[in-house]
Amino acid sequence: MKPADGSIMNETDLTGPILFCVALGATLLLAGKIQFGYVYGMSAIGCLGIHALLNLMSSAGVSYGCVASVLGYCLLPMVILSSCAIFFSLQGTFGTMSALVIVGWCSLSASKIFISALDMEGQQLLVAYPCALLYGLFALLTVF
């Protein structure tokens, strides 16, 4: 897997993440689920958790804005999944498989950016697993 450039997180930017959260809520709304509260709540608590974990695991500290920014940008595939949910129900084999693929995609890209920005080699799967749990919660929200 190509390593990401570590310098892309030098300036943190929250516009994109907030836009993606709103897009996720909007696509969920179009699919008939009004769950803005859950989306914002889980994003906030998930960011706090990942921020704590990354501070513990990396030798250099990480700011909350950086964590929120990366997690928010990597939420984009989840928006794609929830826009698919508008057209057909995801509660089936195909829906479950695509949800798993999207969760894996989100968490691998988030962990890739984290380890290249924080210079934590050899720990990508360890960072990917908590991110996968967080994105899994979003996927549960989208599928059910």
Partner: protein, 314 residues
């Protein structure tokens, strides 16, 4: 015993094997022994409990912080806990493999933990186990409903909290009690010091890993198969615990050793059986009133969730 040759890491493995069997053997190692990829090699030995040993210096910028002499930060800061999360993916996978396949001569703490316990493994294994228990517990009810449409299923979110509290209490309070007991008996033991609290937590945390695939396999609705998987997982997990604790209690009186080991195994068995019975209790068909008439439908819907809850708590 440990020659400073090319295969430095492999030599150390042999030395550790021999050391685990004869704890009072003298080992010497070159103080400038390097490992090939800067992989973390342990600093074995805590004081005089292992006889003559010297610390092996390891290279690696990740562990350089630990070697510096600096005052211990307070336990409310991040840096106090940072040393417990300093693990690689390969180390965590290696520890998990070591807990899955216990062998009599290999002590989990000496071989796999190498005296560097981590909190990452136990924390996430417990979180995963609690999550998987709750999800599969709900899934069995869904599958039972698909097979028998008269069974009424409602998502039981309280199982998530129950699972979480049970697993985390077990994985933290039982090691606390065990650690306290071993320290209390420390005076009887000359050769091997007790494990630190975090090592005990690690032992218990990694030993719970085998239950994760077992719980998933418990979805198969064949009762004798479920009990077989449960017994298998319990045997492997308890064997791992016993083999790890055996060198520590070996020097104690036989009564205390036997009582301690049997208490450990019994608690583990209680946890396994409790999880199986609470989360995978099938709804017996005779307690569920089939919706015979349309007018009788609303009371049934109100009745079956309370019935299932009372069955679950009984």
């Amino acid at each position: 015993m440990a020659a400073a040759d090319g295969l430095a890491f492999h030599e150390f493995e042999e030395a550790t094997n021999l050391l685990a069997e004869t704890p009072d053997a003298a080992t010497t190692s070159k103080s400038d022994q390097l490992t090939p990829q800067g992989h973390v090699v342990v600093a074995v030995g805590s004081g005089g409990s292992y006889g003559v040993e010297e610390e092996v210096e390891e290279e690696g910028d990740k562990t350089a912080l630990l070697q510096e002499e600096k005052p211990q930060p307070g336990f409310w800061t991040f840096s106090y806990y940072q040393s417990f999360f300093d693990v690689d993916t390969s180390q965590v996978l290696d520890r998990i493999k070591g807990s899955l396949l216990p062998r009599p001569g290999y002590n989990f703490v000496r071989h796999h933990l190498r005296n560097r316990p981590d909190l990452y493994g136990p924390f996430w294994i417990c979180a995963t186990l609690a999550f998987v228990l709750a999800v599969t517990g709900n899934l069995t009810l869904v599958l039972a409903q698909r097979r028998d449409p008269s069974v009424h299923y409602s998502p039981q979110f309280h199982k998530v909290t129950v699972a979480g509290i049970t697993i985390y209490c077990y994985a933290w309070l039982v090691p606390l009690a065990l650690w306290g007991f071993l320290r209390w008996r420390k005076g009887v033991r000359e050769r091997m010091g007790p494990y630190t609290f975090l090592e005990t937590v690690c032992i218990y945390g990694y030993s719970l890993f085998i239950f994760i695939p077992t719980v998933v396999l418990w979805l198969i609705p064949v009762p004798w198969l479920q009990w077989l998987f449960g017994a298998l997982a319990l045997a492997l997990s308890a064997a791992g615990l016993v083999f790890t604790l055996w060198p520590v209690v070996r020097e104690d009186t036989r009564l205390v050793a036997a009582v301690l080991l049997s208490a450990v195994v019994v608690l583990h068995a209680l946890l396994a059986m409790g999880c199986k019975l609470y989360f995978f209790q099938p709804l017996p068909p005779e307690h569920v009133v089939p919706p015979s008439k349309a007018t009788a439908l609303p009371p049934n819907i109100l009745l079956t969730p309370t019935m299932s809850r009372s069955m679950a708590t009984s």
